[in-house]
């Protein structure tokens, strides 16, 4: 009898699931609006990055729609959470496909982007990732990126430090469990061999121990490092700066685009600690050019927080798509594959100026050509570093 009950409950559950699921079938026919899908972590450890992307897309889409859409066609957008997990990212991609997505803006992080690009290339879906910086993320023909690639930042930073003789003894602290950080780190190390400076401390941390940096800093201090290279995100960088100040260690801190946000996105952070920090970044939320000011004002009004670089990259991604669509004359009726053909033929010819770079161009391999600008933080503000 007990078994019968179990069989009964099992089939009940199965039936329940069936009814639940049957409602989820999507409309796969070519639609008459643009459907931009976004993927990124909206929950979990890296939620700040995914939510930045989500908001950036949302804001740009709203602006374009209010101005009449792209060639008169309105844009729909949808964002799926992937919790920085490759598998969930692919799931999110499939969900977006059911929804009728015709262009993908994602994924937010490198690993997820690699996994998704494998599936999206089979569908021949145009994929523009705002923030996945690994080269592998754009290996497929249909994938392009908005942010700097790891090599351009890694070797770029090493050359910059060497050229400007910013330091002679360099310490590095990188996140060895993070794709982005390791990518830059590897390229930095490779290029450092050609430069005149010497790496005296090569330290790392992992996602599981990212609050206590005292040891890494002490080692750098003892080795006499006069410059500490931090290829990491602002969250950990803020902690490193705080802990360095507590031990009276004040070398030059040199960051990359992940460091952007340190002035504006860590609420409660004592920004005087960031004084003198140099970073290579394409976007500064407190820049005074009209484009940035408009974006930041609109973003702050809509979401109550200052945009980070993820939001800026995603916002640019939408406008890049708009420009590509206008230039190539693609329409939603072309179908996923047709759109991808037109847009990927156009992107290698186009040149785009946005929040995160002037005259950005793309190579056929999918990488963006834009060069980081070095900024120094002076009086709580970015200044172009000469």
């Amino acid at each position: 009898m007990k078994k019968m009950k179990k069989v009964l409950s099992a089939s009940l559950i199965a039936a329940m699931m069936l009814t639940l699921l049957s409602g989820c079938g999507g409309d796969k026919a070519a639609s008459d609006t643009w459907k931009f899908g976004g993927i990124g972590p909206a929950t979990g450890d890296y939620a700040a990055y995914g939510i930045g992307v989500r908001n950036g897309i949302e804001l740009a889409v709203k602006e374009i729609n209010e101005a009449g859409g792209i060639n008169g066609v309105q844009i729909d957008y949808k964002f799926e959470d992937d919790q920085t997990d490759n598998e969930k990212s692919v799931n999110g991609y499939n969900a977006l496909k059911d929804w009728g997505m015709n262009v993908l803006i994602g994924s937010t992080t490198s690993g997820c982007s690699i996994a998704v690009s494998d599936v999206s290339s089979q569908d021949h879906m145009f994929q523009l990732t705002p923030s996945a910086s690994a080269i592998d993320a754009v290996k497929t023909d249909n994938a392009f990126q908005v942010c700097f690639t790891d090599p351009s930042q890694g070797s770029g930073s090493a050359q910059y430090i060497g050229d400007h003789a910013l330091g002679t003894k360099i310490a590095i602290i990188h996140d060895s469990s993070d794709v982005y950080s390791t990518g830059i780190y590897e390229n930095f190390i490779a290029e450092a061999a050609n430069q005149s400076f010497e790496i005296v401390a090569d330290e790392a941390f992992t996602a599981d121990s990212k609050t206590d940096f005292n040891v890494q800093l002490k080692k750098a201090k003892e080795a006499g490092a006069d410059l500490v290279f931090l290829p990491i995100y602002y969250t950990e960088a803020a902690l490193i700066l705080t802990q360095a100040a507590a031990m009276d260690y004040s070398p030059i801190f040199f960051g990359v685009d992940g460091m952007d946000g340190i002035l504006t996105n860590v609420s409660g952070f004592d920004t005087t600690l960031a004084e003198g920090v140099i970073l290579l970044t394409p976007f500064a939320a407190n820049a005074t050019d009209e484009r940035t000011v408009n974006f930041v004002t609109a973003y702050e009004a809509a979401y109550g927080i200052t945009p980070n670089q993820f939001a800026a990259d995603a916002y640019d991604a939408v406008y890049i798509l708009k420009q590509l669509i206008e230039e190539s004359g693609a329409t939603p009726q072309d179908g996923i594959s047709g759109i991808c053909d037109k847009l990927s033929a156009q992107i290698v010819k186009t040149s785009f100026t946005g929040l995160t770079g002037d005259e950005m161009t793309w190579s056929a391999s999918g990488e963006v050509n834009k060069y980081p600008k070095a900024m120094e933080i002076v009086d709580g503000d970015y200044q172009l570093f000469e």
Binding site: K3, K5, F79, D118, T182
Partner: protein, 367 residues
């Protein structure tokens, strides 16, 4: 007409297989309705295998393990690396995939044996924490592994890509935190169902065997089991190793569905181990088909909840708590028993018939 004789045990087993087949049939048809659900079919099989294999440790052996994802991780990375490297030598995908599954399961099994040897004498929460520690160590070490190959064979490093010293035409298989990239997509739902059936077959057969009874005797009372001459370490190790090997099988199968897999806390760390444990406990500790159903439902739930966007994980948490309270709290169980009794009364005529039949069978068996 000759009646097929079935013991209660094999009838129960048949029901389990039946449920799996029915469930896969349902999943298959449901999967046709959307890309999203179709994309879930392969991982859901992996989750079921993981849940069933953990149930062997938790339910049958009665030891709490919080490091199951670590074994899956080994299977994933070994299996995927094997396939990528062997693509140049073995040109039959089916054979290569079969070997990759085997290699993944074997490597995880060996690891399970090596880990089990020293730690299985620990008990309860202490064992739990040690398995958690092993899982974390495996995840952390995998994050440091760099593996590649070129004309000269495999290269391995714990530092970075450059120190692999690959030739120009070299291919990087595992790239530290970026994980393993380029695994051929060999997995599909059909193979998944076969592997689930295989897993369930292995576990059920073990449970019904002499060895299985010894394992369960240890679970029920270790000292009593020892006093009747059951070799405790041997049987504990046996269950633990098989459980680890099956997790490795799931890992290798799972790996061949994604072009890139990285080892993060959520998919191979303690969070994942705990998630598998959730499947087992919710499905009923020791109940194989419970694990199958719970893994399917709980794995799909967050995906089905996607329409709730930012509230979905919150809803998921609440559903999880409520489901736990409903299935496990003594009060809810009493309530269910009352409802069941009511049902029983209504179904009385039917059951009488059923019971008569089975007593006939028993009689025949007796003859």
């Amino acid at each position: 007409m000759k009646k097929i004789k079935l013991s209660r045990q094999s009838r129960s087993d048949l029901i389990t297989y039946g449920i799996i087949l029915l469930l896969s049939l349902v999943l298959f048809f449901v999967g046709q309705s959307s890309y999203q659900l179709k994309g879930l079919l392969v991982p859901v099989c992996a989750q079921i295998i993981l849940a069933v294999s953990l149930n062997l440790t938790v339910g049958i052996l009665g030891e709490l393990s919080l490091g199951h994802a670590g074994f899956m991780c080994i299977g994933t990375f070994v299996g995927a690396s094997f396939s990528i490297y062997m693509e140049q030598f073995i040109h039959i995908p089916a054979l290569r995939f079969f070997l990759a599954l085997l290699v993944g399961a074997l490597s995880a099994g060996i690891m399970g044996f090596l880990i089990g040897l020293p730690v299985l004498r620990l008990k309860g929460d202490y064992l739990a924490i040690v398995t958690l520690a092993f899982g974390e160590i495996i995840k952390n070490l995998i994050n440091m592994v760099y593996l590649g190959y070129d004309g000269n064979g495999l290269h391995f490093s714990m530092n970075d890509t450059a120190s692999l010293g690959l030739a120009e035409d070299g291919v990087v298989i595992i790239k530290g935190p970026q994980g393993v990239t380029g695994t051929p997509a060999d997995s599909n739902f059909g193979i998944g169902v076969l592997l689930v059936l295989l897993t369930v077959f292995i576990v059920l057969n073990l449970v019904h065997s002499r060895d299985g009874r010894a394992i369960m005797a240890i679970r029920d009372n270790e000292i009593a089991a020892e006093s009747v001459g059951i070799h405790i370490t041997k049987y504990k190790l046996m269950a633990f190793t098989i459980s680890a090997a099956l997790a490795g099988l799931a890992g290798s199968f799972y790996a061949h569905n994604y072009n890139n897999i990285k080892a993060s806390t959520n998919n191979f760390g303690y969070n994942m181990s705990i998630m598998i444990l959730v499947f087992v406990v919710l499905g009923g500790i020791g109940s194989i088909r419970g694990s199958v159903i719970a893994a399917t439902v709980l794995y799909m739930l967050p995906e089905i909840l996607r329409f709730m966007s930012q509230y979905r994980m919150l809803v998921y948490a609440i559903v999880l708590i409520v489901m736990m309270l409903f299935t496990w709290s003594p009060k809810a169980q009493a309530w269910k028993a009352v409802q069941l009794a009511r049902c029983k009364k209504k179904l009385q005529p039917l059951t009488d018939k059923f019971r008569k039949k089975s007593s006939d069978e028993l009689k025949k068996e007796g003859e």
